[in-house]
């Protein structure tokens, strides 16, 4: 079990309120991702749930029990840190055994769980090494192993992959997803990388300045962003947003069109512009178009290849029904 509920939670550091009153429910077994630009309060929120920071007001419930004043060690949660935070003076085996030793688990049971975790995480050959003798990816696995053996009611991940190189990050991302499918334990994952958020989450919580901008499934957020911030933050490359006369034509203060929802032609179309840079990736082509009169740059994503280059004139046409409209307050108009 691991249903986590935040009721009216706030957090201030001195006079600075980093989390204004906030309500959030994470269901048992859910993979929730907190995403937002740096400094948006997502890590603080995770630390509040972990108990590493005290709430300024409000309640935190885990499986209906109020844990607001309970110490981190008694909340039954496990956390994986960005810096791995392994105990450098202990071997991998002792690192993994540590939480069990603290909980008074019998030696035989400890050995059994260590063996199982090491097998699942490919660490069997490294059990007698110290963390200093491991690569970044292996260290992260040890940190995950240390979390798994506790059998926690929820896992908390604080940007666990940001210290890894790109290739390793993709691999670990898959492993964590598979681990979640297998264990069906609640996971809360903090990242600033919206690709991680989109690919891993059951539920994404988009935060800005401590405020929840939108909560929903990845595709909800993609297809129906609640406001301009979410529209710009979710999706890669980011959505093109225009205001002014073009938006007024659609009875909106701002309109948005995703790069992949725009057609390109060299002969005819709705908007005319000049190609600034064309990035040919083989599978896709990203075209950055200037002088459209809409915005400084309009980004377009075309599947496959198209023969355009710097200085060419192109015409852009938005796909029918793919224009997102927002009012003067930045909120979505349906």
């Amino acid at each position: 079990m691991g249903r986590i509920v935040l009721e009216n939670v706030t957090k201030s550091f001195g006079d600075v309120e980093v989390i204004p009153p906030l309500d959030l429910t994470i269901e048992d077994g859910e993979f929730a991702v907190f995403v937002g630009p740096s400094g948006c309060g997502k890590s603080t929120l995770l630390r509040l749930i972990a108990g590493l920071e005290d709430t300024s007001s409000g309640k935190i419930l885990i499986d209906d029990a109020d844990v607001t004043a309970v110490s981190p060690s008694k909340r039954g949660l496990a956390m994986v840190f960005q810096s791995y935070a392994l105990y450098p003076h202990m071997t991998v085996r002792k690192n993994i055994a540590f939480p069990m030793r603290m909980a008074g688990v019998s030696d035989a049971e400890q050995e059994k769980r260590i063996a199982a975790a090491a097998k699942a995480l490919n660490l069997t050959d490294y059990l007698d090494r110290k963390p200093g003798q491991l690569s970044g990816g292996q260290r992260q696995r040890v940190a995950i192993g240390r979390a798994i053996v506790r059998d926690p009611s929820a896992f908390l991940f604080d940007e666990p992959l940001s210290n890894l190189d790109a290739a390793l990050r993709v691999g670990m991302r898959l492993e964590i997803c598979e681990m979640h499918s297998r264990m069906e334990t609640t996971m809360i994952y903090v990242t600033h990388d919206q690709v991680e958020a989109m690919t891993m989450a059951d539920k994404i919580v988009v935060l800005q300045a401590g405020v929840i901008e939108q909560v929903g499934s990845p595709l909800d957020l993609y297809h129906k962003p609640r406001n301009v911030f979410v529209a710009g933050f979710i999706g890669s490359p980011r959505m093109n947003l225009f205001s002014g006369p073009e938006a007024a034509k659609h009875d909106a203060a701002t309109i948005g069109i995703r790069p992949e929802h725009t057609e390109v032609s060299t002969t005819e179309g709705t908007w005319k512009g000049i190609v600034g840079v064309a990035e040919h990736l083989g599978s896709d082509t990203f075209i950055h178009v200037h002088d459209t009169g809409l915005a400084d740059t309009v980004t377009v994503r075309i599947a496959g290849d198209i023969a355009v280059s710097h200085g060419d004139t192109v015409f852009l046409t938005p796909q029918a029904g793919q224009i997102h409209r927002f009012n003067a307050d930045g909120l979505r108009i349906d």
């Binding site: 981190p72 060690s73 810096s83 935070a85 003076h89 603290m102």
Partner: protein
């Protein structure tokens, strides 16, 4: 090129000479003391016998036979060991609290602790003597000396430990909290093993300070708790200048600490430069 080569040849010779000069300068008083301890009192004051004299063990024999050296030495060991242990016992949790759970006044507390070192000891000599003798009845006891040595060293010990503990990533301590450790467990299982080098050098330095402390150990003891400092002091005053005897006693007093320091010098240097070269 030639200039560079010349400079490096010059510095290859000049630096070691300078280093040796400074080293010898520091070492000279100890060398002189050891040398003098093997002279008769008469020879000790004659400049022509500075390096060339007939060595004698008279001073050392005299010391153990007449002055009960071993009792003073035992007191020094007892007071220094207990004071060091007590200081660490109080200092480690204090430094831990300030390093990992700082409050707005942590800096002020640290400064205040250091400011107690700025108080001239002479200013509180009379009240200390008066109170311990007349009210508390603990004058000339091991308890008093251990307490005084602990208290005068505590600020510097807390400062040193604080600096070492600051080097430990906060994440590791927090991981411990998540893994179900209480505060004592964090100190025992994580902090002490990680900061072992720093703690050891702090302990060694504290021990040396306790061992060599003279102002209070001389003034707050008469016989029962008198340490080696008192023995040295006792050989100075009444009968005039007896440099030979004084040097023998001093050599015997600092001997153990020099040997200890020699064995721990790697640890000590590592500890003292810790943090300077992150």
């Amino acid at each position: 090129m030639a200039i560079v080569a010349q400079t490096s040849r010059f510095s290859k010779i000049a630096w070691p000479i300078a280093a040796w000069a400074v080293g010898l300068l520091f070492f000279f008083p100890i060398f002189w003391m050891v040398l003098t301890s093997f002279k008769t009192d008469a020879d000790a004051v004659k400049p022509e016998f500075l390096f060339f004299f007939t060595p004698t063990l008279e001073n050392y024999l005299n010391m153990t036979e007449n002055y009960d050296y071993w009792r003073f030495a035992a007191n020094s060991v007892i007071c220094s060991v207990f004071a060091t242990v007590f200081t660490l016992f109080v200092g480690i949790p204090s430094a831990y609290a300030m390093a990992f759970n700082p409050s707005r006044s942590t800096k002020d507390v640290l400064m205040w602790m250091l400011s107690t070192k700025m108080l001239p000891a002479a200013a509180v000599l009379y009240p200390m003597t008066f109170i311990t003798k007349n009210f508390l009845g603990i004058f000339d006891t091991h308890f008093l000396i251990i307490l005084v040595l602990s208290l005068i060293n505590l600020p510097i010990v807390v400062w040193m430990l604080f600096t070492y503990f600051k080097e430990i990533p906060k994440d590791i301590i927090e991981a411990g909290k998540m893994d179900g450790v209480n505060t004592w467990g964090e100190i025992r299982e994580i902090l002490v093993p990680l900061a072992w080098g720093g703690i050891a050098s702090t302990a060694l330095l504290c021990f040396i300070f306790c061992w060599n402390e003279a102002y209070w150990t001389v003034r707050l003891t008469t016989t029962d708790a008198a340490t080696l400092s008192k023995l040295i002091e006792g050989n100075r005053a009444p009968e005039g200048l007896f440099f030979g005897r004084l040097s023998a006693v001093s050599t015997a007093a600092v001997g153990p600490i020099i040997v200890l320091g020699w064995f721990c010098q790697k640890q000590l240097v590592q500890g003292l430069t810790f943090g300077a070269v992150k």
